[in-house]
Symmetry: C2
Subunit: 437 residues, 2 copies
């Protein structure tokens, strides 16, 4: 049961059954519970002693991975009132046109993808959109690949294509690719004619477990990541795990950094599952991945449903991201993958949590070990200086009235805080320990 230590007045009750499962995993019905909403500046404490999966399920899971019915999509619902949407997860879903077509309302679709993904999955996607549906016209814009193109100039290419193709308000934009494509296409959909329909088909682990839930869209500014954007929800997200077959190893590992994060901030049992199943994930076992994506999406969906606009709770999803963004910005976008930077940033956040006396040394070691096993970096690149960290962190979106708030671990595995109330000395020591002065 999720509980909070900090005093707060607002509580929000959520319904017991936020997931629909169409696979063979057995989930216990959870009782309804009350969850505190963060009010602006207090420290937010989150722990996760609740067990969402029944006592026997960890064992069950290991047994049932191979029994998984791959063509039935697993569905995670993201509950956001009239903007509630489903995430379909499974193998072979791009071969099931009805999944996408039920979410297309107008007659024109614009698929936004990149030069790397287009040769692999564009034809398949167009078929999924048009098979048995002759009224729909599909236009395509293929962008250059990479975080360094997540900028205003590239965004304008999407608008240019949409306007040249005379797309109207009933059109649908489809993001086919990783997080960069999802973020840019989502922001374009939010802004084109002040908002058109939007569907995501994420093809990287990172996009599947992170960008596909929560409606954060946007582009980078030369001075900082994701500084320009919108909160905008898709009509649906379709995750075909078959697309992972073509994903480079480095991209795969990058996504695992976010998977590991969910365990650390709120789901101890999931972290323990990862410790047992890391090899299955690295060998791209489809059932293991379907489970990891599902559980990641559920964790994120719960957080986003409670705090869509990041009043407080949602910020906890950014464990390691403040340090990580500094690495990405300091190195230049695209040098390190997002998850690689987050992995190093997570080690730094954990180090700082330990210096503050908030966690045991054993947890520091477990984090270090699992990131290493996932083939992720455990320290920032050598070129990073303390000053580089500080200058980027000063413009972080979580700064409020000059105070930098951080997500740090506190207590047993699965517990974190989002706070500006920490000893600055610990931050300085962590920066010194991990970078040149």
């Amino acid at each position: 049961m999720a509980t909070a230590i900090s005093p707060t007045e607002n509580t929000l009750s959520i319904s017991p059954n936020t997931h629909q499962t169409h696979n063979r995993f057995h989930f216990s019905k959870r009782p309804s519970f009350k969850f505190p909403l963060q009010t602006s500046f207090n420290t937010l404490h989150v722990n996760s002693t609740r067990l969402r999966i029944s006592a026997s399920s960890a064992q069950l899971m290991d047994q049932s991975l191979n029994e998984f019915t791959i063509n039935d999509p697993t569905i995670v619902e993201v509950h956001l009132g009239d903007r509630t949407y489903p995430i379909y997860i499974g193998s072979g879903l791009l071969d099931q046109p009805h999944l996408l077509q039920r979410h297309i309302h107008g007659k024109k679709v614009l698929v936004v993808t990149n030069t790397k993904v287009a040769p692999l999955y564009l034809d398949k996607t167009v078929r999924a959109l048009t098979d048995g549906n002759p009224n729909v016209t599909v236009e395509t814009v293929i962008l250059p690949d990479g975080e360094k193109y997540k900028d205003m100039d590239t965004l304008m290419k999407v608008f240019d294509k949409a306007i040249e193709s005379r797309l109207d308000r009933r059109s649908t934009f489809v993001a086919l690719g990783g997080g960069v494509i999802g973020d840019m296409c989502g922001y374009a959909a939010a802004s084109f004619l002040r908002g058109v329909n939007f569907i995501q088909i994420p093809t990287t682990v990172m996009a599947q477990v992170d960008s596909s839930v929560g409606g954060k869209t946007g582009i980078n500014h030369p001075l900082g990541k994701n500084l320009i954007g919108a909160f905008y929800q898709p009509q649906c997200v379709l995750i075909d795990t078959d697309t992972l077959k073509t994903l480079p190893d480095r991209e795969l590992a990058s996504g695992l950094a976010e998977v590991i994060k969910y365990g650390l901030i709120r789901d101890a049992e999931f972290f323990e599952w990862q410790e047992k199943n890391m090899e299955a994930l690295l060998s791209r076992d489809p059932a293991a991945f379907t489970y990891a994506i599902k559980r990641s999406c559920e964790n994120k969906a719960e957080v986003v449903a409670l705090d869509e606009k990041e009043g407080g709770l949602r910020a906890t999803l950014n464990l390691g991201h403040t340090f990580g963004h500094a690495i990405e910005t300091g190195l230049g976008y695209g040098e390190w993958l997002h998850g690689e930077a987050v992995a190093a940033g997570t080690v730094m956040a954990v180090d700082m949590s330990y210096r503050l006396g908030w966690i045991d040394e054993s947890l520091v070691k477990r984090v270090f070990d699992i990131l290493q096993r996932a083939k992720l970096p455990t320290s920032p690149p050598e070129s990073m200086t303390v000053e580089m960290f500080k200058s980027v962190m000063a413009v972080d979106k979580k700064v409020a009235d000059g105070l930098l708030r951080l997500i740090l671990l506190k207590g047993p595995l699965g517990n974190c805080v989002f706070t500006g109330d920490y000893d600055r000395k610990a931050l300085d020591e962590t920066l010194q320990a991990f970078s040149k002065s």
Copy 2:
């Protein structure tokens, strides 16, 4: 009482008292009424036989203009749930710092203005934001003046300044200027860090009666007006009618085009008031203007409260705008002022309504006369061709699945429809009558 002819299933009841008035005009308490919500494709009929002001008030108004207490702001509330905000209207309001300061939450404010308005009102605005409020720091970005700068490059200057100034999520953006500044600053506020606070101080009639209500923000694309943007509501709007003293005649007339529009689409009594008071408006009588702005904002606020995202009803606010946008785009932005193009577009929409047999000839004449008295154009520029109209109208935001929907007058004064169900011949005849083939 607003009623609808078209069949519809959704109804929304709104509360009886949507206005707070702090002046001496006497408003009758209106009974609650049910208003139809438009469902996508049907024709929407709107008439305005309701009288929002009590039977004796038209007379009262003429008498009380000079008794108006100029330093008490008139307040129009725009009702949008948790995004409800007030519009303060009156003389000398920039000398009342508490009006603005109650809506500033963080410590940093970015004033976005232009080269024409800055020398006139920037110092005054900064004083209004900071007097007695030493914790607030004000940054300023001064943009070039004119519709042709309502583009992505100029928008980026706002982001550059915001990031350089290390503005955070609790910052407030203040738009000081006309509609272009309001639209750009609003879109910047919607997009910066995915959304920060926003205050509007409109200094033109156009911005006061149109852009200040409804949260439409955005920029132009070389191929069409306002194609990129967001729906985003301000914290408050402050309209100091003293700023009209420095407004060029052409700008003043441009704003009157929108004032006249409110009468035509939904408020016959207001139109009749304008016919009686056009000279007072042209001579910038402050009380007449406070009344005209208030009544315009009330009309727009009612429409927006019922249909924030432009499902149907809200589209009726675009009478004359489809033809007008074609003129603005065809000539190049900035050649004609927005209201000038809308005036010519209104004459065209009225001409087409008459050709369809939907209105009397007498109404055609009244529209022509009042626009002439307001010193507005009553036909498009000679360089416009039928083809220019058609190519721009084809990418209008009101096109749905290839069908162009238009706002046309139908029935007695104060009644309009939003429909794609009209004889194309009438449209062709109107285009031919007003432009070269």
